[in-house]
Amino acid sequence: MDDLYRELIIDRYKTPLFRGELNPHDISFEDDNPLCGDHIRIDLRVDENGRITEAAFSGEGCAISQASADLLIESVIGKSLDEVKQLTKDDVLDLLGIELGPVRLKCALLSLKVLKAGVYGLGEASDDLVE
């Protein structure tokens, strides 16, 4: 458990660096984790070359879901949308630096699901995006 709630996760949960909304934005998407009621919205601003210049997340949920969103946002600023499309579950787990059981995995991956659904311009987020 000490691993699960490592300092980085508690820190980013309590004092996130990228919490907020961007209005106007180029891309915005939000979704829930129905199992636990986590909710994440992600807003992106993208330049003419398809590169993310600004990003922010909002919502509420457990430490894992919120810290993972904050770390994910940090990692995608400056990336191209094509690079974001390539992100996987393992990238998020590397950012968090922990291993998770199947239930908490959904908390951790909600932000990636929201991000990719937004970048792909989908109407609905699907678990396939983070497999």
Partner: protein, 416 residues
């Protein structure tokens, strides 16, 4: 009332615990299981486990049709279970007991048969704001199909139903009033008798969601004059996959069948069928035979201990739990004061999400539930994203409350 009092004296939680093999296991090396999630599903005593095993080893065959000794024996066990359950809830006769998979299926059965046949566009169904999704969504589905209107008895800030509002809603002349006898989130015990009496005065049929009440309290359908009662086996020491719908005979007889198949028919031609009598009309296909027998054993188990003794014990542990929980700075427990509720405590811990609380408690072997507990509208009303829920049953001890409290302090420390 001398007899229950004697039983209460004899109730020994350490002896009871010996009946539940899972309570001896470690969750992690050196960390024993502290099971505080009986509201979701209860653990099983050895009496139930052994009955099922013995049935499979010795008496198993398909029921009702076989003209050989084992099939007759299996049928007898299955029907004996039905009788035990009928007696347990005070039904007039065993034929008023329909075996289903669980509470959810029981309620869907009523919605899809009675509801479809007897409700018309513009008819009102009254529910409450504290319903589990299982007593909400089946009616929403029916409303979408038939144009039935759903109206809700509000929950007040202390977690009680607003009965004055209910009386006003009755002016809509509802056809059905369906409500949980005990809330799975707040633990509130609703005044079933009063709700039913008022409903009957305007000619409404009533359905009790007894998923949380039947495992913990003596529930007598004739005393309550309940028209339908739905409950699950797995929350009352029985196996999963078996549930019950009680219905008054005249209602069950008027209802069309639920699923078509074997056992629910009297006669079948290539073009048509005629339905079997109750309860078989509603039990198409091979049912959960061993599970029904197991549920019969669970009813025996609870009856032998005594429901009065069980409540008395839960009340003692539950009062202690509430007392300790509210002492913790940052903890808010939802629902009424203890004398008006069951031993179910949904709480929030300031600055720590329910999931994180639950994860940290798991580290100490403590099994609780986190989330919206299949009651999203209620959580919305209370204005909270998710709660952690600790619930207690006959096998829980005060020591376990102390461990829970210690675990919550650990969670506070980690997030401080």
């Amino acid at each position: 009332m001398t007899q229950p009092r004697n039983l209460i004296k004899e109730f020994n939680v350490d002896e009871i615990r010996k009946d539940f093999p899972i309570l001896t296991r470690d969750v992690y090396p050196g960390v024993p299981l502290i099971y505080l999630d009986s509201t979701a599903s209860s653990q099983k005593p050895i009496q139930v486990i052994e009955t099922i095993e013995r049935f499979y080893r010795h008496s198993y065959a398909n029921i009702h049709r076989g003209i050989y000794a084992v099939a007759e024996e299996a049928t007898a066990y299955y029907e004996e279970a039905r009788k035990k359950i009928a007696k347990f809830i005070g039904a007039n006769e065993p034929n008023e007991i329909i075996f289903t998979r669980n509470t959810t299926e029981s309620i869907n059965l009523v919605a899809q048969t009675w509801g479809r046949m007897f409700l018309r566009e513009g008819d009102t169904i009254i529910l409450t704001e504290m319903e589990h999704h299982s007593n909400l969504v089946p009616w929403q589905m029916l409303a979408a199909e038939k144009g039935v209107i759903l109206r809700f008895i509000p929950v007040d800030e202390s977690g009680f139903l607003d009965l004055e509002q209910y009386k006003k809603l009755l002016e809509f002349k509802p056809k059905l009033v369906a409500f949980a006898q005990m809330s799975n989130v707040l633990g509130t015990i609703n005044p079933a008798q009063e709700i039913i009496e008022l409903a009957h005065q305007v000619g409404a049929i009533t359905l009790i969601d007894g998923a949380q009440s039947v495992p913990h309290y003596p529930v007598n359908v004739q005393d309550l004059d309940a028209d339908f009662l739905a409950f699950s086996g797995h929350k009352m020491c029985g196996p999963s996959g078996i549930g019950v719908l009680y219905g008054k005979r005249f209602l069950l007889e008027a209802m069309p069948p639920y699923m078509g198949g074997g056992d629910m028919i009297k006669r079948v031609t290539l073009d048509s069928f005629s339905t079997n009598e109750i309860p078989y009309k509603f039990e198409a296909g091979t049912p959960a035979i061993a599970e029904a027998v197991g549920l019969g054993a669970a009813v025996d188990y609870l009856t032998n201990i005594g429901m009065d003794a069980i409540i008395a014990h839960e009340h003692e542990v539950g009062s202690y739990a509430l007392e300790r929980l509210v002492e913790i700075p940052g903890v808010k427990v939802y629902g009424p004061d203890y004398d008006k509720k069951g031993a179910v405590f949904s709480f929030t811990l300031e600055k720590v999400h329910a999931h994180d609380v639950s994860q940290i408690l798991d580290h100490y072997g403590i099994a609780v539930r986190a989330g919206h507990h299949c009651a999203m509208p209620l959580h919305e009303k209370l204005g909270i994203p998710a709660t952690t829920r600790a619930s207690f049953y006959l096998y829980n001890k005060k020591d376990e409350v102390d461990q829970l409290v210690e675990g919550i302090y650990k969670a506070k420390e980690i997030f401080s």
